[in-house]
Point group: C2
């Protein structure tokens, strides 16, 4: 099973590495990191780079394609959007984390589909024809989208169950000791202190462009 992760400048690293850590454990998984050019691709903080091992053109067709979110996702980059569309014609699952769903939408893949994204970007899904659905993981046909950043781990475990069964998914979850104990109930706008929600709404540009 071929799994291709798209990398691009100023992506959010955990959007990629969370799902990778789960999906790379699937039986027969062959994982490839793909970008405009092979080589290091810097994340949004500037301090971490992940290596792309293939260019868009050199990547083999994939069963699972994952597009991460980032500070400024490639919403008008024709080469990336063409690649996403072409990859989608061969995929079993086309997936995204965080604002990666805006890339799927910009490629025209989410027309009439329920989809999620980072809570701060939810208002950007509808103009593309997607149906904004504020759940942590949303599956509509072969399109699986996750909410912000850390939600990619839950997405990947959900896909793992579909692809390899519940027992296998549980074993991966245990291997990664994914028994989350966040110190606060602050992970969603519905549970976080109002001050945290207001701060990020007023400073959205700290998290994402545009």
């Amino acid at each position: 099973m071929q799994i291709n992760f798209l990398l691009y400048d100023r992506m959010t690293a955990l959007d990629v590495v969370g799902p990778y850590e789960v999906l790379s454990r699937l039986p027969g998984a062959s994982v490839l990191f793909v970008a405009a050019e092979p080589g290091p691709v810097r994340a949004d903080t500037g301090s971490l780079a992940l290596m792309a091992d293939a260019s868009l053109e050199d990547a083999p067709p994939a069963d699972i394609v994952l597009v991460p979110g980032g500070y400024a996702p490639p919403l008008i980059d024709r080469r990336v959007l063409d690649w996403v569309r072409a990859a989608d014609t061969r995929s079993t699952w086309t997936t995204s984390v965080c604002t990666g769903s805006l890339v799927l939408a910009a490629a025209g893949l989410l027309e009439g589909r329920r989809a999620t994204t980072h809570w701060l970007a939810m208002d950007r899904l509808a103009p593309s024809g997607a149906v904004p659905t504020p759940s942590r993981v949303v599956i509509d046909g072969k399109y699986a989208t996750a909410a912000g950043v850390s939600a990619g781990i839950d997405l990947a475990l959900t896909l793992t169950e579909r692809l390899a069964g519940a027992e296998f998914a549980q074993t991966v979850q245990l291997a990664l000791e994914y028994d989350p104990q966040p110190p606060f109930a602050a992970g969603s706008p519905g549970t976080a202190p109002a001050a945290a929600v207001a701060f990020l709404e007023a400073n959205r540009a700290m998290v994402m462009a545009g």
Copy 2:
């Protein structure tokens, strides 16, 4: 505030990237990825490499040092252990995720200290003089250790609270939409199906060497 992440061959990528995604948001954070040699460092699956931007010798002193776990942590690599010991003399927090605590222990830093690690490696802490403490995050003095892989996110939020206050930590948690909803209650040996626990105990070599 300088934060140095140690990278090494066959590390577990999420051990690094989970805490990085949180700690890199600290006010004034300067984040550096450090390895024996600068350049790409392959994770345990072989398919992902993170870039090290400095060698051990070239890394500046850090306020926070983080050692990730991996398939075969550098427990007898004198150069790495010397670096960890030297880094510890300057740090405010010396931290680890997963079997990274075995590296801290091998460097002699956890003598008489409570510490945690991946549940499958808990029996390896005591011989070094550490006091195995099967909690998700364990803090003893300036030593903060996390359980397996995904526990690094909880560790980092805990440190963020200590360093920048609860309100700031909650804002970071919300920015990362860390509102985990694992599809199963399978993330710890106490909650996972017995078959998953037994499988990993019988196949520990799939997860870690030795």
